[in-house]
């Protein structure tokens, strides 16, 4: 077993544990901590895959920005929120479906086998690909962000008229 495989086993194990931990945590704040670690494990995976730029991006955007965003939301809502609430009625089928999906995914994964060595790319390669050949993606992402901006500002903003219900505790 080479070092890569060992490291990956560790990182992947940590990823799975933290993902589950995030979903099982009692407090939402704990969830966010778990998920931040989860994001970091993925970033490590990207480094192992020789995608250093992506790893950095993952750290910055996910482990940084997204986590903060979620934390911010929790702060605004200011509630101790039930996370372990009973999955009423659909718990058993949900678990069954989950295992079924996991099984199918693993089944699919075993069909793939590559013996060729993997490769890394320089940031220059990446940006050339992203901004010339696939510039339309960036454009479309820009549009997504534009509409998200318009929508999020509008929804998060208090309306100019009176609010139906004032915010609690804030």
């Amino acid at each position: 077993m080479n070092v890569d495989a060992l490291l990956f086993a560790l990182v992947a194990g940590a990823g799975i544990v933290t993902a589950l931990g995030a979903l099982m945590a009692r407090e939402v704040v704990h969830t966010i901590m778990w998920i931040a670690v989860f994001f970091i494990t993925l970033a490590l995976t990207y480094f192992l895959l020789l995608a250093a730029f992506l790893g950095v991006l993952q750290l910055a955007v996910y482990a940084g920005a997204v986590t903060i965003l979620l934390l911010f939301a929790v702060m605004v809502v200011r509630k101790r929120i039930f996370s372990r609430e009973a999955a009423i009625g659909i718990g058993a089928p949900a678990v069954a479906l989950t295992f079924l999906v996991a099984y199918l995914m693993l089944e699919m994964a075993t069909s793939v086998y590559t013996s060729e060595p993997g490769q890394g790319y320089s940031v220059a390669d990446l940006s050339r690909n992203l901004f010339t050949l696939n510039g339309a993606w960036v454009l479309a992402l820009g549009l997504v962000m534009l509409s998200a901006l318009v929508g999020a500002i509008y929804l998060a903003h208090e309306s100019r008229g009176k609010a139906i219900r004032s915010e609690e505790g804030a």
Binding site: D4, A5, F8, A12, G15, I16, A19, A22, L23, T31, I35, T45, Y46, A51, F53, L54, Q58, Y62, A65, V66, L69, L70, V77, I81, S83, E85, A87, I90, G91, A94, T98, F99, V101, A102, M105, L106, M108, A109, T110, V112, Y113, P117, G118, Q119, L126, N129, L133, W137, V138, L141, M145, A148, G151, I153, Y154, L155, A156, A163, R165, E167
Partner: protein
């Protein structure tokens, strides 16, 4: 380098965990987290496939960059919606918002 099938297995398990979260959690923020887990599984796939790309093209990484941006954007909108809803029903539990049914 990590074998592709193991990577796919990892992302597949993450996918299943995300689905499990979406199905069982009632807290909107946890739902967002679950969806993010799935999205990360997808991004992992793209990066993995880029690493093993036969044509040596970094397209997969490009897509991963785009998806990271997309996921963050999506979360922002989701949080805006949940804040607006929280103002009215005073909860972020989706089980509290069940007026529309049957």
């Amino acid at each position: 380098m990590i074998p592709l099938d193991e990577l796919l297995g990892f992302s597949g398990v993450l996918f299943a965990i995300g689905i499990f979260g979406v199905l069982t959690r009632r807290n909107f923020i946890l739902l967002l987290v679950s969806i993010e887990i799935i999205m990360n599984a997808a991004i992992l796939n793209f990066i993995a496939f880029a690493a093993y790309s036969p044509s040596g093209s970094p397209s997969g990484q490009s897509i991963a960059v785009i998806l990271i941006g997309l996921a963050a954007t999506e979360i922002a909108v989701g949080l805006a919606i949940v804040l607006a809803l929280n103002r009215i029903i005073g909860s972020v539990n989706v089980a509290q918002a069940m007026e529309l049914k049957l």
